[in-house]
Symmetry: C2
Subunit: 442 residues, 2 copies
């Protein structure tokens, strides 16, 4: 991967990453008060630099507008790039909100007396160095920077070229606020598309990569690095409407899961309907969806029951599709097992919901669906760090290791074992006259 | 990677992995009592099949002996392969010990009232499908199988060809004990070196890989899969003897860390000695190490102070070396910062210890060394799941994510979020008349 990139750029990016890692050591030992003070200084600096940041964003936006008009940039990406004074105030308010969160570092997760004078502590500590690779969103810069500082991690920011002026102006503000105790390398900006391959190869230096962007970006990163990646490529979420569902509730939940924000990763893509309720439910459901401007794509059974809509049939591969739009697929299933089988085969293990009044069926669904978020009688759209009460969201993870589902500040720390003794050696705990461990929880 | 392997074998291994994943669903929902009953049945079956297992192992050992004599297999690998009746009894006792451990599945880690009638639970659950790739050790088969069953995971076992007869006989015993509720695919044996590449490519099916073998094996696996790997390639551990160290204690800890079991990953490879104590400490330390049959390799300063030993100097790259033998490197450092710098540059973030009577120095070391295990005034050899009181050890991880340091049964589970509502939709929590979340911990 690296071989394709000019050696000068590689060595520059490697040097930048090493400097950021070095800075992570200073960050790791800052007190909570000190970190909060830096966050307050960042808040003030962003306010003071508001005019410069908006001017820089206007430059980016002018370029992007041309690209969008030519069809070389999506409208969605363009909309996310443009910063208004109100959006900037929201970004600054976000910095304040992170400062107010509890510090995730230094918690004693367990303490055990191994033997007299030999105490084991499991203590939460920062991961070290994060790298964020993002597209378009200026808010990613301040959000991830403040979450990183609060959790004692250094961070490398690699934004797309479309957001470069905005990022430079924002980092100028942030660097002016770091004070004397934290080098600017603690929040390191890296530029140029070629830098990505170099960052992805630095698995001894970077501890976690957080991609913020398209499914294609996330998948590219997941497939091309040994560094752990926090995030999800796609959200193919399901609502299963059981035979024992309250039909009014089922329609309300299906509708909210699809249309409340169709582009969200926790929006539903497929509705699975138990065969016993198709005749009563499907006509009403289809009418509600049509009223909300949702296009339906059905299995042959669904389409046969909804002749008035002249629906397209869903091809096998399409059940994997994240429409991210006002489109929904509907499939009739014979029973819970068929629903579980469909979700397992076509889903992305993100969020899946059941609507049923039968408690045993609900329990089986919640236990057996292998997804980060499994819901009973509520909308898939609740799968979100803010709605879960985490205060801030680092991202939503469909990985099973480390952090799963919506991830708050806790996802940016690890732990270490600290063992404090008074000269103990292992030799004394082996052989015929071995000392016995106490293993007493303290 | 896959392209080099015959298509038939690939499809066979893929089918086996799919069957194991299917079986993981049955395992995930077994009750604690049911899992313990299966473990008891495995214990009995292993006892009943002891003669067959020992006979099969004798076949493996006879072949291995020829290879070892020809130098095509290391003595260490050969020793680990050979099963005595006593070692087999130890394996069976290990099954009983795992049955006695608390079930890591189904713990409610957090419960939050999001709103009236909308309750969020974070619940521990199995990972799904584990794959163990191991060399030589017959005990890996029973140990990992029982840990997998206890934690509700299915497991694929891929042993080296040297252990194939032993593994087939052991799996015959285990399969006879699974009963009617668990298909044999829940504990799936896979054979043939070519199967490894296929397993490593199944990142949508296998949830965790646990390598048990040489550093080369572990590194090969880490570099060639997108599946998370639980383990560590090397253990380059340090003991730093500070200016304020009690010298008797320092010598005892250095000696134990090196010689108590030199092949262990938590044995020390390098001793860092503060310049202020070299003249008093080094001659005594060298004499103690020499008495224990340890060969010293020093930095120029060390070698200059120990002229009687005519020591070899350590080259730059050698500081990374895991000797796994009665060899130790010694380096004189000017201060704590130089020790921290050395450990960060050359260590493997496994286990590092400081010997000092100065509390502030100890605190800095424990906070700033970025290793899974950081010790004060005790031997590095304490870094171990049994010594930590975990009951059983899955392995030692130098990864920072998910599980770090010695990993017990908890390392084989993840969690999911279960949200139970009564018809709630997200639409009601947005807009001007939005309902407010309660976010009340229950």
């Amino acid at each position: 991967m690296i071989a394709k990139v000019a050696p000068d750029l590689i060595s520059e990016v490697v040097e930048q990453a090493f400097a950021a890692k070095q800075a992570s050591r200073a960050l790791a030992t800052l007190s909570t008060a000190h970190k909060n003070q830096i966050l307050e200084q960042i808040e003030v600096a962003l306010e003071e630099h508001s005019a410069q940041i908006l001017a820089a964003n206007a430059e980016d936006a002018a370029l992007a507008k041309v690209l969008a008009r030519r069809g070389e940039m999506s409208q969605a990406l363009y909309q996310r790039l443009v910063l208004t004074p109100e959006k900037l105030r929201g970004m600054i308010a976000g910095v304040r909100a992170v400062a107010a969160l509890p510090d995730p570092v230094g918690h004693i997760l367990a303490r055990t007396l191994l033997d007299e004078g030999l105490v084991l502590e499991k203590v939460s500590c920062p991961l070290g160095l994060l790298a964020v690779i993002f597209e378009s969103r200026p808010d990613a810069i301040t959000q991830i920077t403040t979450l990183a500082i609060k959790s004692g991690n250094a961070v490398i920011l690699k934004g797309g070229s479309e957001v470069e002026h905005t990022m430079r102006a924002t980092l100028t503000a942030i660097h002016s606020a770091l004070g004397v105790d934290l080098p600017p390398a603690a929040v390191m900006g890296v530029y140029g598309r070629e830098a990505i391959a170099t960052l992805l190869a630095l698995d001894k230096t970077i501890d976690l990569i957080i991609p913020r962007g398209s499914n294609a970006l996330v998948q590219h990163i997941q497939k091309n690095t040994l560094i752990p990646v926090l995030g999800h490529a796609d959200g193919v979420c399901h609502v299963y409407i059981d035979a024992a569902a309250n039909l009014d509730m089922a329609i309300a939940i299906a509708l909210d899961s699809k249309v409340q924000y169709p582009a969200a990763c926790n929006a539903a893509e497929t509705l699975l309907v138990h065969a016993a309720v198709t005749e009563t439910l499907l006509p009403r459901l289809a009418a509600s969806l049509a009223d909300a401007g949702v296009r339906i794509r059905g299995c042959p059974l669904t389409n046969g029951l909804l002749p008035a809509y002249a629906l397209d049939s869903v091809a096998e591969e399409e059940w994997h599709t994240e429409y991210s739009d006002r489109v929904v697929a509907i499939r009739v299933v014979d029973n819970l097992d068929a629903a579980l089988e469909h979700i397992d085969r076509y889903g992305s293990h993100h969020t899946d919901a059941i609507v049923t009044a039968d408690a045993a069926t609900a329990q089986r669904f919640l236990n057996e669906v292998d997804s980060a978020n499994v819901f009973h009688n509520c909308s898939t759209r609740f799968a979100d760090g803010y709605r879960y009460g985490f205060g801030a969201e680092v991202g939503i993870s469909t990985s099973k290791l480390h952090a799963r589902g919506p991830v708050g500040l806790d996802g940016l720390v690890t732990y270490k074992y600290k063992l404090t003794g008074s000269g103990q050696v292992v030799k004394d705990y082996s052989g015929p006259a071995a000392r016995k461990f106490l293993h007493k929880a303290l």
